[in-house]
Amino acid sequence: MIEAEEFETVAETTRPHRLQRVLVLVLIAALMVLPLWVYPVLLMKLMCFALFASAFNLLLGYGGLLSFGHAAFFGGSAYATAHALKVWEVTPELAILAGVGAALVLGLAMGLLAVRRQGIYFAMVTLALAQMFYFFCLQAPFTHGEDGIQGFSRGRLFGLIDLSDSTVLYYVFAVVFVASIFAIWRIVHSPYGMILQAIRENEQRAISLGYSVQRYKLGAFVLSAGFAGLAGGLKALLFQFATLTDVNWHMSGEVILMTLLGGIGSIAGPIVGAGLVVTLQNYLATTGFPVTTALGATFIVCVLLFRRGIVGEFRHRLAVRRKP
């Protein structure tokens, strides 16, 4: 009698990987030719936010931790990148590196204080710490308060490639974006990612197997902060300014929205979610329609229709159909 139930196993593990691989190649090819039809700056902005949401999802979807403070890493890195370009006048790759470094340090500091907390308390601690960072940015002289850091040029990549041309910049972004998504995918599908999944599924059991779960969570937090920082640095490079908007708690809320909309726990989910939100924002900005209201409404509709997020719902339907 127990047998029947056991043989119903979902064949999820034997999913055709070849189809996925082809799909990924098609998407990369699309990324290469898309600027022929779509405004490259919009596409680059999309990549920034898709990367930001993917970084966030690394923590929420794979680490099981809901952070309310990711704006600190995104915006903090944007400031560091802008500062490095404007004041230190370094090459753009070093500026981005400075941004990522700042995000990693911030991530380590915030993570050390937050990973001891569970669930909603974790979210509250990250929010509180990010707000402290916001006020720091508001007061600190190098951020130039309300004006932000602006009026710098993108410089030359490795001192050679001029990034003022937006087509050149686009291909640099595309390479960094694809590499970063691959890196996130690799982290998720690594020995460490396996332990992260185990902790998410049964924390007590993981502890009993000798895993100091807080250290693994801290690792996920710092990695996530690093990629969020990369996204923020790219954004500063793209728009050539860094302002308080990037460290504001709205930004933390927006990345949560994007990720939940697309669906947590898959690589595609946050990318789709970010794409949707950014496109919508972009479109609405030209109509004079209140952006926040529209986003909120979209979010409510999506949550009601697809609890698993867009990609999650799609995958679920596919899995159900595959079952005999």
Partner: protein, 264 residues
């Protein structure tokens, strides 16, 4: 006075105890769940912890492995005082436990469940840059462990889809993967069919030759068959300790626990 007597009796044993506790106590609010428990788990032996529902057996487990902080008492692992250690650190010393409520990684396959346990001892737990295929060298050992508990042919099934008894078997395989020096099993045979109970009891007896085992078990026949030392717990206190003959001869035990168990 009484303390002196107890420690005099237990002192020579403590020298070879793999895991031992003295005066172990736990209060929840003003409810005393565990009261002044002394216990020695010896290498190469199976120690059965028995007692009626709510006696505090699982709480003792949680205290010994530090999943709960004792209100009083000390815990020694060999010569090391582990009373203040974190549970993961205790596990790393070689104290492996299972849980009364099956604890498996539900969305993972059986073989991955065991692999997760093998990753840390094999130094493959923190590499976030390496592909999953780097874990394939753990697979033969994982398959061997699954074979020992009779689950080899289900290795690629999802753990969540297993029946209750088989989840217990998977938990034992996962626990064995740690190569423990002390193994604590909370009702490892619950929900298993007669055939599996016998196989698992034999496996535990076999494993116990190389480590110390503490197990909570309601199946008195198994306790009689493979248990060497028995502690009877009642309302958080030790009613009696000894071998099966001694314990089962105790009229209080017959009345409080075994009398009712015989009816099942």
């Amino acid at each position: 006075m009484m303390m002196a007597k107890v420690s005099a009796r237990i002192a020579p044993e403590r020298a070879r105890a793999a895991l031992s506790a003295r005066g172990l106590s736990k209060t929840f609010g003003n409810f005393q769940a565990v009261k002044d428990v002394d216990i020695d788990i010896l290498h190469g032996r199976i120690h059965a912890l028995i007692g009626p529902n709510g006696a505090g057996k699982s709480t003792v487990f949680n205290l010994l492995t530090k999943f709960l902080q004792p209100s009083a008492g000390t815990i020694m692992y060999g010569e090391t005082d582990i009373t203040r250690m974190a549970p993961a650190d205790i596990a790393r010393l070689g104290v492996a436990r299972s849980f009364q409520i099956s604890a498996t990684f539900g969305d993972m396959s059986l073989v991955d469940n065991v692999c997760v346990a093998l990753q840390r001892p094999n130094g493959l737990a923190v590499q976030f840059w390496r592909p999953l295929s780097s874990l394939s060298r753990l697979r033969p050992r994982a398959m061997e462990l699954l074979g020992r508990v009779g689950l080899a042919d289900m290795a690629d099934h999802r753990a969540a889809d297993l029946s209750y008894g088989r989840k217990r078997a998977l938990e034992i395989a996962t626990t064995l993967a740690l190569d423990p020096k002390v193994m604590l099993l909370d009702e490892p045979l619950a929900g298993m069919g007669q055939e599996d109970v016998e196989r698992m009891a034999r496996l535990i007896a076999d494993v116990a030759q190389g480590c110390a085992v503490l197990m909570v078990e309601h199946n008195i026949k198994v306790v009689a068959d493979i248990g060497h030392d028995i502690t009877v717990l009642q309302r958080g206190e030790i009613l009696t300790q000894g071998n099966y003959a001694e314990v089962s001869a105790d009229p209080r035990v017959r009345e409080a626990y075994m009398g009712t168990e015989d009816d099942d």
